[in-house]
């Protein structure tokens, strides 16, 4: 089991076998009332397990060859959304027009509820040193015993971790 954590993400599970445990009640999720409606699978061919995965060739008949030559440079760095929005220059437009930044929901006017970083229950307490929230007193020694890394990992869930750039 210890070697599992160190292996690559997708590779390890594919190699292990499923156990045939006799007394376990492995209950496959039945499509009851509460389950999600199943997706309708689009029309597909059969499984292709032995064949290599299909590729999409880049040379297609319906593509304009001239277009491709124009954009041949691989070094093209595509603008991220932030840059795009900045270039849109929304501030110089009339205020009543809807723009991408306009319609973003504002910060809440009501105080947010605080939840325990460990268990997820309501957290009335906060540790002043590590800024972690906890729901009951017996969690305090545990929180204090955590290393820096762990504390930051817990805080990162709600983006309260310290990010040094």
């Amino acid at each position: 089991p210890l070697s599992m954590a160190s292996k690559e993400k997708g590779k390890a599970p594919a190699k292990r076998k499923l156990s045939a445990s006799k007394d376990e009640d492995v209950d496959i999720m039945s499509t009851g009332e509460s389950s999600r409606p199943s997706k309708k699978a689009p029309a597909t061919a059969g499984m292709d397990a032995p064949a290599p995965p299909a590729t999409t060739p880049q040379q297609q008949p319906f593509k304009n060859p001239n277009y491709k030559n124009k954009h041949e440079s691989k070094k093209k760095i595509w603008r991220q959304l932030k840059t795009i929005l900045a270039a849109e220059n929304y501030s110089s437009r009339p205020v009543d027009l809807p723009t991408y930044t306009n319609i973003e929901a504002a910060i809440s006017l009501m105080p947010s509820k605080k939840y325990c970083d460990f268990t997820g229950y309501v957290a009335p307490y906060r540790d002043a040193k590590t800024h972690m929230r906890y729901c009951s007193a017996d969690l305090y020694p545990i929180i204090r015993g955590l290393s820096d890394e762990h504390v930051q990992a817990y805080l990162a869930v709600r983006r309260a971790n310290v990010v040094l750039k």
Binding site: P42, T44, D48, D96, T119
Partner: protein
Amino acid sequence: IIHFINMQLGRVFPLPEPVHVPDAQSSDYTKFKSKHTSIVIDNGSYSCRAGWSGEASPYMSFRGQVGKQRSKLPGSNETTLNVYVGNDMRDADLVKFQAKGAFDSNVVYHFDVQESVLDHVFSRLGVDDSRVSHPILMSEAVCNPNYSRQKMNELLFECYSVPSVCYGVDGVFGLYNNASSSSPSSSSTSSSSPSSLPKHALIINSGHACTHLLPIYNHQFHAINSKRLNVGGFASSELLKKLASLRQPMHRAYLTPTRTNMLKEEHCYMAENYMDELKAYQLGQREDEVHVIQLPFTEVVVNPKTEEEKQKKAQMRKEQGQRLKEFSEKKRREKLEECESRLARYQELQQDFSAVKDARKQGGDDDDEDILDDEDLLARVEAEGLADEDELIAATIDLEDQVKKMKKRMGLLTAEEEKADEDDDDEVHTYPLLDIPDDQLNDTQRREKRKQRFLKNMRDGRVAQKKRKLVDAEKKQAAVKAEEDKRLANPAQYLEELRSKRKSLLDKRDQRVKMKAQLQATSSGSRRTVDRQRLRMLTQLEGEAQSKRKKVDVEDNFGARDEDWQVYLAVTGDSAQDDEDDDEAQIIQLEELLTKHDPEFAAEQQQQQQMNKDNSNSNVINLTNVGTDGASSSSTYVPTARDYQIFLGVERIRVPEIVYQPPMVGVEQMGLTEMIMHTLARYSKEVQDEMSQNVYCTGGNVGFPGFQKRLENELMAIRPFQSVLRVQVARDDPMLDAWRGMSKWSSECNETFKKVSVTRQEYDEMGGHYIKKYFASNEPLPATPSTN
């Protein structure tokens, strides 16, 4: 620790395995080619759905990811670039890890990837012309930036030579799909305006990247009052992955993005009332709701050994032992032979030496020097690895001793030799020649003298060593006796001393472990407490030194005394490894004594071990094992199925909740309820009433069980007393909702579709940002003004 999950857990589920089915190549393109059927593409940040207009379902639906890989063609030296799109990538493929998506949040920004995606769409649909001669209906982000739309138009018009393009907001089409089929009185079959859409409605479109609130006002999408919340399916999956990884870090490897998505879809649900549900989990009332995911696990079966098998094993072990013994005997004999042969060689050499010397002597060379001229002898001496005659003599004596010892060990000494050996030790050895100075001896005698000198030195050394051993043994005896005396004199006090010593050593050890952990902490250099302490120490020492210098005008001779160098120890604070080992040995010793003499101690230890075993019981999730691999340190631990399970308890309701409480993941925006409240407030009372009777939910992220009920509860809380509410979630798969609406509209309202599409000519004239307004479009904005 109270937050463990005990034995009575909920149902056990298998780990979901991602299924990989590549998109098939269409074979009936000709049917659509002649009619120039529109191609409908719902381009989403999670997945892309594409197909022919008028169909009930999209022909293909795949993850919007593209992976590239260079591969060498067999037989040639060329490398080709293979492009895998969406379903062509298996989850375990290497390409999947480097796969790129075209979206940043919900806006397309990477048009190379987009190009690959469109290639994939058109080629699988079977397009074989020199251009894609079908009108395109495509979805875009709410208030899509002009730049993005321009680039997309560029791609479609100039690369694929499409005749016309129409963009629409996917959420509105989702409503179109639901509304037009649900209201039987509408005449939506051939109308030019979608009057089947309710007059006023509110759409909640919760997608992968974000959640939108889209008000419909007067049958049209009212963009100015729409709202976007930057939390969606992606944030939910991320939250699930982080929570599961933190709680059980040893199973982190299993939580790939695809698997996490599947787990989220299968196991998470929306709580009808979050606070109540949370409380129920906390009080332990939802123990049967805890879902257990069983990871692949091979059972290790330990059969109880029968008597036969035990005997067989014992037999095997004996045989092995014997074999080992024989082997080592053989080795020893070989070594002995080798030493003896070497000894014979040395002795021969010595004889040759004396022979040469005598020969030289007789030849008139009355040389007192021992310098060897004879190259032959020199070469032989060097071949043995010795420098000159003296070393040869010393080595010979050494070797003789060694051989004797080995023989004694192996019991090969003859009776004579044994006797001689014993006598050797008792005899008084005299070295008569040592007293006579050199010049009075002749050569042979001188050589004898040298031999005797070596012998004497060796003997003396051995005798001294024996003496030292005796003294040490005596000292040890004395110490043990002293301990005993102390114990007998005052037993209680003695035990107290032992305990306190042990405790202090244990504390020191804990301190050391903590320091080590701090040293290894990876926070930035100057902030580590250890480093700060060091800095403080150094400045302190410097300050002291300075003040000392000021007081007394003495030369700085720091370092003259030995104790000065101890400051290094103080400053670095690195305890030497020897200290640790000494302490450990002492702790063990103390514990032995305590167990022997103190009856209570033994009982305590037993209890302690029992508690440790209980605490690390595999039935209990120990939160202090965060960060460590959970397996027990004992070597006899047999892993059970429980060690390979992921528990989803309160995470099941936490994960979907972020849409209502975005601060749970650090997004400082208002939740869905508040957004609805503010949006409704912008309309008149009548419109508000109508809207709250026509609330529609679409998008993949609304698929959680209980979403509808929860939204109803939330609306009820913010609407006036006794107002009518109606919340509808997409009847069929919410993810295909938008595509179906688009397909329906483009085929049923074909006239309108044609009218509001932007043709190639219009694109050339008006620019890439140009769109025409219709019920599902964004608000057309003028071209981006250039910055001065």
